[in-house]
């Protein structure tokens, strides 16, 4: 006589201990439902991250190592020394592309993080305060946002000079205005909730209320915004470097690589591969922003359900 019950029992189903899915399981379920564009985006981002982290191991030559032949042709078929040739002073383009991943993405990531710390922090404070401080910060942000950010960045760079430090600071501050606006507008709705009031009455400090009560509830839009801001900052820095005002040589960087090799483009009729040299770093920039946008698009769709893409 076996005790195994084969028949279905509704009481059992209801009475069973509810299995709580771990965060990992929930993530895997979401990932399985992700569309192909999001998968493409995530795989591309993973490859970029891997390249950036292990750049010294992957690159065949050093970042600023100079070889005797400038503008050497491509040699994809093996045997050649430089897969994508060399640049205008004889540096290996392939190695610089790999190091460029580290520098360009690293600086853009640092800038985005800084802008979220500044903008997000001030936005939360403004949302909780809702009085003179909120007014002051909001009006100040309005004025800053009235100037196009690339123009503002150009003006500030002419004053402070183009170093990596000032580049990160300037773009982070300019970009934090948008983070401030978003954080403030979503946090304002959360601040008036009863549980926030309860926490404050309990005597929790400003830092606790910000971090433990409000932040978890405004996370999804902020995460999506992080992706969008990152690609925006990344494009701005690339544009500035392309204009010769961003990351300075000898640091390998995609924007300035496009600028340095741009003259090769006129030889497309004779040697198509040579003309592709400046397009490689430009394409690397484009591919990463496309990938980030795809992932953000999916994330927005998933977290808001209704919200239409923009």
């Amino acid at each position: 006589m076996s005790e195994t019950v084969k028949s279905y029992s509704a009481a059992d189903e209801v009475g069973a201990i509810r299995m709580r899915r771990t965060r990992w399981q929930r993530m895997m379920i979401d990932l399985k439902k992700a569309p192909i564009s999001a998968w493409f985006g995530m795989i591309v981002i993973a490859i970029y991250a891997f390249t950036a982290l292990f750049a010294p191991l992957l690159a065949p030559y050093g970042e600023a190592q100079v070889f005797p032949t400038p503008f050497a042709p491509w040699s994809m078929t093996g045997g050649g020394e430089h897969v994508f040739g060399t640049d205008q002073i004889g540096r290996d383009v392939f190695s610089r592309l790999i190091y460029g991943a580290r520098n360009t993405i690293g600086i853009a990531l640092a800038t985005t993080l800084l802008s979220f710390i500044i903008g997000g922090g001030l936005g939360l404070v403004a949302a909780i305060n809702r009085s003179w401080l909120d007014q002051l910060l909001s009006r100040f942000v309005d004025v800053l946002m009235a100037i196009p950010s690339l123009i503002f960045a150009l003006m500030l760079l002419s004053i402070f000079g183009s170093t990596v430090g000032s580049l990160i600071m300037i773009i982070a501050v300019l970009d934090s205005t948008r983070v401030f606006r978003l954080t403030r507008s979503v946090a304002v709705n959360v601040v008036v909730m009863d549980y926030v009031e309860a926490a404050r009455l309990r005597g929790e400090g400003l830092g606790w209320v910000m971090r433990r009560e409000i932040l978890p509830n405004i996370m999804p839009p902020l995460v999506a915004e992080f992706g969008l801001r990152f690609s925006f900052v990344f494009l701005t820095i690339a544009a500035l470097s392309f204009l010769g005002l961003g990351i300075q040589p000898p640091t390998a960087d995609w924007g300035s690589m496009v600028r340095d090799n741009a003259s090769l483009i006129q030889f497309a009729q004779y040697d198509l591969t040579a003309a592709m040299t400046p397009l490689l770093p430009a394409g690397a920039i484009a591919l990463l922003t496309v990938a980030v946008n795809f992932v953000v698009d999916w994330f927005l769709h998933k977290t808001s359900g209704l919200r239409d893409d923009h």
């Binding site: 123009i151 004053i159 544009a239 741009a262 483009i265 006129q266 923009h310």
Partner: protein
């Protein structure tokens, strides 16, 4: 007072205040320079008297508020100061007036931006409205995917791809847009083909997506559903019910993107060596020629603010709720 007029005046006042603060920030740029920039501009061999005279010319011996008033007064009279370049340690001054540097280039930039806007705005509105109406169709999806991709491309990538394709492999258009004042209109247009095509591709993507989102948002409103449910024809729903409320978001989209165009012009001008104000600004930033940078920044910022103001005002003037107050 009529509510429309009141709101418009209020918005105009706000615009003036914003312009004031922006000019204050741009003016403060020169005050943030390190103290010894006189030597940096004139060279280390400059005599102390020359440096002193230079500082005096910039008015650095006067208080900041007085300098600001003088600067604004001069700008309003069309005097943007003198460029830093061309000054020498010996005190010989070969510098040029900023206005002379900017005026011809500003015209060039406006020409490029104008052509682009003429092509891009109708195209983007057409694409945006048709995709919104044919939502989730194959047409909508393919246009959407294409624009999402172009949005992510940096301007210089689009520009170089176009150069490789249309100037190098199939030499249809010139890759250098070096226009000169003597050129005829058609020649100018031919030279500007690739820069304006690049800008159009970038702008259309942004504008089309924003138009589509605005229209979809609009079509989801209850009064549109009401009109459909009571049996109004499809064309009538769009023309009589949707369109009057759509002007405001469409105007915002256009102004926002024209403002974006003003910025995008900088990179594109550098790629195509187009003698416009964007390239002038980049050159001035490289050589740290502050008066030129200030003047360019002021022009860009003022254009940006005015365009956004214009969008706001169009939005107010066409708003049915304000036009027919109860």
């Amino acid at each position: 007072m009529h509510p429309v007029l009141a709101t418009v005046l209020q918005r105009l006042g706000l615009g003036v205040v914003t312009l004031f603060f922006v000019s204050l920030i741009i003016f403060a740029a020169i005050a943030m320079l390190p103290g010894d920039f006189g030597e940096a501009v004139l060279g280390q061999a400059a005599l102390p008297e020359t440096v002193e005279a230079f500082r005096k010319e910039l008015g650095l011996d006067k208080p900041a508020w007085l300098r600001y008033i003088n600067w604004v007064a001069a700008v309003l009279q069309g005097d943007l100061g003198t460029s830093f370049s061309g000054r020498a340690a010996s005190g010989v001054d070969r510098s040029r007036d900023v206005v002379d540097l900017i005026a011809p280039r500003l015209w060039n930039t406006l020409f490029l931006a104008g052509i682009t806007a003429l092509i891009a705005v109708p195209l983007a509105l057409f694409l945006g409205i048709t995709t919104a109406l044919a939502r989730n169709s194959v047409y909508d999806r393919s246009v959407n995917a294409a624009t999402l991709t172009t949005i992510s491309f940096p301007e210089f990538f689009v520009a170089y791809v176009l150069i490789v394709l249309l100037a190098s492999i199939w030499p249809v258009f010139p890759s250098l847009a070096n226009v000169t004042p003597e050129m005829s209109f058609t020649e100018r247009l031919y030279k500007c083909a690739l820069p304006s095509l690049t800008l159009t591709l970038v702008i259309v993507a942004h504008m089309m997506r924003m138009t589509r989102a605005a229209i979809i948002n609009l079509l989801a409103s209850p009064y549109i559903e009401m009109a459909q449910l009571k049996g109004v024809s499809k064309a009538k729903v769009i023309v009589k019910h949707a369109l009057p409320n759509a002007w405001a978001p469409i105007a915002t989209v256009i102004a926002f993107n024209l403002a974006y165009l003003v910025v995008g012009v900088v990179v594109v001008e550098v790629v195509f060596v187009y003698p416009g104000i964007g390239q002038l600004m980049v050159d001035a930033v490289t050589s740290r020629d502050i008066p030129v940078v200030q003047a360019c920044a002021l022009i860009f910022a003022a254009t940006y603010i005015l365009l956004n103001l214009l969008a706001d005002i169009i939005g107010i003037v066409t708003n049915p709720r304000l036009l027919h107050p109860r």
